[in-house]
């Protein structure tokens, strides 16, 4: 085999006394897409940071083209052509696309910026990527998928030889992912080595040549992708067979009362005349493409966004929700899709994060820290939050543990209705299963769940009924056998159900169930 582009030998990494990587080997060949998979906390992030020169390994060696890698900062690794694209992008939001692409390496003519050359180069690179973004656009105005393209363009402009991508499709729609895969294949054909991490094993199967599995900081296996099934990869990741990812559905009683009824909800710019019924013991899925207005509908209901029309009733009684407090008081809790930006205080410890939503339950005047500590002990056990010590900042936890803490925080108010938005985004399959079990149990015991998710298996595997939205409008409500991928996609893309234009006469009193009747 040829000299690998990038190779790590027996790499270990310790943070303080704790060793998180135990002698891992990893190589990337020229023109290879190499998947790096593992559960949250398996050591993928640490290994990626070592490969890209962010972290220096405690022992072991990293070689680029046979030469030892320099760990004198990120610039050194980039100079040797290794670029890491973070899950959270590394772009200056207020600058333009071209300014970002050339950030830190601006082209100059004499002492002045050569804006024309940079513009032309940016255009050329973006065209090569099949990316319709205008180089003069400001990054803050771009969609998430476009930002990712800009990140890749930035890497390309640096003559990238190894591109390390951390969960690149976590924030992309299906179409956007397809564009990304095309791009990855083209880069591969040009001889770029690509390290690809994802929790979506179907993608791993589809676009990678080899798979390396990490578990608990150990190197478990490196095999050609063609030799493995998705199940096989999952088994290597968790070290046991994954059976029954989704628990068997327990449908709500036929006479289960409606606990939450929404009618004619308008959220300016996002949602028009949306309505639905949620019954006791029910998991109601909300499917649709990204941008269909599902999150905005939920946040409109909860007083987190301005709502201009619509009514809510709770157990048949009218419910006024002007602020999130009102919803919480009515027994409705919300798990945001943005756990880092809106869910958790990353610099704070677990305890203040856990109780932040329900602080009034921990003492009338003074906060009782002993009860908080006891609640944290319980939550850590109940939600299986894995931490070495309880006083670390939440930002240092793995994504899965953060998500479990966020769920525990949300449950602190003892809600009857749980609205969860992308509850398993960017977390591993083992943690996903735990969250699915939790939601299932919650509904089985008489709670009601609104599940907003862009992951089709999740919607289909958990929901009793599915509300499909498109461009801010509820296009259909599916029940029973209709809850399957093809049907959901038909409603989500406008092939079936109410069309957006056909809704001009839609009255605020319009009932979501009508949509099914007409379909």
């Amino acid at each position: 085999m040829a000299e690998p582009l990038l190779a790590a030998f027996g790499v270990t990494k310790s943070f303080g006394p704790v060793e998180v990587l135990h002698g891992v080997d990893f190589t990337v060949q020229r023109g290879e897409v190499h998947a790096l998979v593992g559960e949250n906390g398996a050591g993928k992030s640490t290994l990626m940071k070592i490969l890209s020169g962010f972290h220096r390994p405690t022992s072991g060696a990293v070689r680029v083209d046979g030469r030892p890698m320099s760990f004198s900062g990120i610039g050194a690794a980039e100079a040797s052509g290794v670029v890491l694209i973070h899950q959270e992008f590394n772009l200056a939001e207020h600058l333009t696309v071209e300014e970002n692409i050339f950030l830190g390496r601006e082209l100059r003519r004499g002492p002045f910026l050569d804006k024309r050359a940079m513009n032309e180069r940016s255009r050329a690179i973006l065209a090569e990527l099949d990316c319709p973004v205008d180089p003069r656009a400001r990054v803050r105005d771009l969609a998430v998928s476009e930002r990712q393209m800009v990140e890749i363009a930035k890497a390309m402009s640096r003559e990238v030889r190894v591109l390390i991508m951390d969960e690149p499709t976590a924030v992309l729609t299906g179409t956007e992912s397809a564009v990304l895969f095309g791009l990855i294949r083209r880069l591969r054909d040009q001889g770029v080595g690509i390290v690809y991490t994802s929790h979506k094993l179907d993608e791993v199967r589809a676009i990678t040549d080899r798979v390396t599995v990490l578990r608990d900081g150990h190197h478990i296996a490196t095999r050609p992708t063609a030799e493995l099934t998705e199940d096989g990869i999952a088994q290597l990741m968790v070290g046991r067979a994954i059976s029954d990812l989704f628990p068997a559905k327990t449908p709500p009683a036929p006479d289960a009362p409606v606990v939450l009824e929404a009618r004619g909800i308008d959220v300016p710019g996002w949602v028009r005349g949306a309505g639905f019924d949620l019954r006791r013991g029910e998991i109601l899925g909300f499917a649709g493409l990204i941008g269909a207005g599902r999150t905005e509908l939920a946040e409109g209901l909860l007083g987190l966004r301005r709502r201009t029309a619509g009514t809510l009733s709770r157990n048949g009684e009218p419910l006024r929700v002007r602020r999130l407090e009102d919803a919480v008081a009515a027994g409705i809790a919300y798990l945001t899709e943005d756990r880092k930006g809106k869910g958790l205080l990353l610099a704070k410890g677990l305890q203040p994060n856990l109780t932040l939503l329900a602080l009034d339950r921990y003492g009338r005047v003074f906060v009782d820290e002993r009860r908080e500590a006891a609640a944290l002990e319980r939550a850590v056990t109940e939600f299986d939050i894995r931490v070495r010590t309880l006083d670390v900042p939440v930002g240092s936890l793995s994504g899965g543990n953060q998500q479990k803490l966020l769920l525990a925080k949300t449950m602190q108010v003892d809600p009857d209705i749980l609205i969860v938005d992308e509850p398993t985004r960017g977390i591993d399959i083992g943690t996903k299963q735990q969250i699915y079990r939790f939601l299932h149990e919650f509904a089985r015991r008489g709670g009601s769940v609104i599940l907003i998710s862009s992951e089709m298996p999740e919607i289909i595997g958990l929901s009793h009924r599915v509300v499909v939205m498109r461009s801010g409008v509820v296009t259909g409500v599916l029940e029973g056998d209709e809850v399957e991928e093809g049907e959901i996609v038909r409603y989500a893309t406008g092939l079936k159900g109410r069309t957006v234009d056909g809704l001009k006469g839609f009255t605020p009193e319009g009932d979501a169930h009508d949509a099914v009747g007409h379909a």
Partner: protein
């Protein structure tokens, strides 16, 4: 984990010694040792009492500033507000001497006026920041100019002096005390204690830190962000008023230069104490130490002839910069 009013002293960090947590206290200890070496008089009860009494104004204002800064805001108007409230208080008391006679009732009215003004100013700042959706820096830069110009106008560019009879009655509030501890020190201690209770033990304190860390997370945690920020500014206004109440009997006058640069001294005390300027992490006892340190530097320079008192600002500046250097890159544990 035992609940404590002084968590920074009671709680052990997970690994080793945390310089940031104990830094301000160590620095204070170092200054005291230095002071003692420079001049034995330094540790005399008279000198210590003097230092703490002079710290009281800035210290009380800085306790309020700790809340505003922890909640991610800043209040530049406190010095001007102190001058304005002092001026109005003096004018009102002087005007009432005729009808009410020089006595305690007049002073009580004056105190209520000061407190009312502090509260009102806090409301104005807070409402402009929350309902007006403006940067706290801009809002309070504006009100700073307004209050300063108003006191200059009331004093007609000169000095407002308190009626001498009232001053005689009011004087002990600054110069008197119980058991040898002056009233300003007692007021400072009380404000700090209440401030610490609020910051560390109540929902409001926790909410301030949450908002300063991330307004979005706070909003998604059903915290009424506007109300908490408004309350922080009101608390600051009331702290300024308390400082005014013990300041006016000291000189018995107010002018355009009263309370000049107090806002910066208060912010300096807060930062030296380990509170983060960007918000999210506030330390009341740190602020108290910070305020005491600022006065101590002045005091030590006065007691030694070695360094010119004119270099006071240099030393204070160095200490502020070192304090922030030590904060850099460390993450709050609370």
């Amino acid at each position: 984990m035992t609940p404590s009013v002084m968590p920074e002293a009671a709680r052990k960090p997970s690994s080793g010694f945390d310089l940031k947590l104990y830094g301000p206290f160590l620095a204070l200890a170092a200054l005291i040792v230095l002071g003692t070496i420079v001049n034995p008089v330094f540790l005399s009860p008279g000198n210590i009492g003097n230092v703490l009494t002079r710290t009281a104004f800035i210290g009380i204002i800085a306790v309020g500033a700790t809340f505003v800064i922890t909640a991610g805001g800043i209040d530049l108007s406190v010095g001007s507000l102190a001058a304005f409230a002092s001026g109005v208080m003096i004018v009102v008391m002087n005007a009432l001497v005729g009808s009410m006679g020089a006595g305690l009732p007049v002073i009580l009215v004056g105190v209520l006026v000061a407190l009312g003004l502090g509260l009102a100013a806090g409301l104005v700042n807070g409402l402009l920041v929350t309902k007006g959706r403006m940067e706290a820096f801009i809002v309070t830069l504006g009100t700073m100019g307004i209050f300063r110009s108003l006191v200059t106008y009331i004093a007609d560019g000169g000095t407002l002096s308190l009626n001498s009879e009232i001053r005689t009655i009011y004087r002990p509030v600054y110069y008197g005390g119980v058991f040898g501890i002056s009233y300003p020190i007692l007021a400072f201690a009380a404000v700090a204690l209440v401030g610490a209770l609020i910051m560390y033990r109540t929902r409001f304190g926790r909410h301030c830190a949450a908002i300063g860390s991330s307004e979005d997370v706070a909003r998604y945690s059903a915290i009424n962000v506007d109300r908490v920020k408004l309350l922080a500014f009101v608390l600051q206004g009331i702290c300024v008023a308390i400082a005014v109440v013990i300041y006016v009997p000291r000189l018995g006058s107010a002018s355009a230069t009263t309370g000049l640069l107090w806002e910066l001294e208060a912010i300096a005390a807060v930062i030296i104490g380990g509170t983060m300027l960007k918000g999210g992490y506030g330390r009341i006892w740190g602020t108290v130490v910070g305020a005491v340190m600022l006065t101590l530097i002045d005091n030590i320079l006065n007691l030694t002839g070695a360094i010119s008192v004119y270099l006071n600002g240099t030393i204070q500046g160095v200490i502020i910069i070192v304090a922030v250097l030590l904060q850099r890159g460390t993450v709050a544990r609370r």
